[in-house]
Amino acid sequence: MPSGRAPAEAVERYRAQFVETVRCIAHGSRASSRERRYEVDQEYTIALNRSEPLQLRSSPGRYLSASQRFRVARNEGGSTGPFLAYTIEYWYQFLFDDEVELLAYHWTPEAFALGQKTYPHLHIGAAMVSVAAPVFPDTFHKKHVPSGQVSIESVVRFAIEELGVPPLRRDWSDILDRGQRQFDDDQLE
């Protein structure tokens, strides 16, 4: 898990891992966050590309949107520091041509007033469902397909390994493995 000797260090490590992960498929990508005091039990948001779909120019027509919220906690006895940052909500979306949703991963358990399903789930884009589908051809994109908690690392790996998005770094798999281990350690607590 992204951890550090101070809350600020844990936050910076979390953000750095997020950006480094996305840069495996989107060179030069940037993320926005607030500049504020970093404290235990506080939540922070990170939004890729100011929450605009980010074009994956190595794969024409493909775009990625991603935001996460994370919280800082004490990590007593942690080997890399007494503070950690862990994911509490996320949203990832693959699009075609900037507006046609292919897939979207939602996990917003703290969006109490949104009326959204709070468990982690997946939406299959309407464009991916055949009009000849035997059931729900017009409404399947609204169904909440249950999923486990999904890391940004596994989304980027999916893009590379399954969607054919070329990796931009030779060490992309190592970067994603490292981040995934951190995510798994964190989310199991």
Binding site: G28, E35, E43, E52, P53, S67, W91
Partner: protein, 86 residues
Amino acid sequence: MADQLVAQPDTDQRDLDDRQGSSEDLESGMSYLTKEEAEDLFDRQARKYLGMSGVEFRRQYHAGAFDDPCRSDFIRVYFLMRLADE
């Protein structure tokens, strides 16, 4: 960098070019927004994707008034509201 396979810029610049005032760290890839900048971003994206102001989104959110909250554009704006509210 030695480990780069492709060296062409890959960032969508459409909304990155109007980031005046924000603190930008190009190497880390982070753009640090003030509260006012975060509120402005939230308002702009709410208008663009949902056709309502940030104020109206916040009001409807707290009233539980959205008909189709699972639309990704609601989720997109929700995260920006959280960013602005920090």
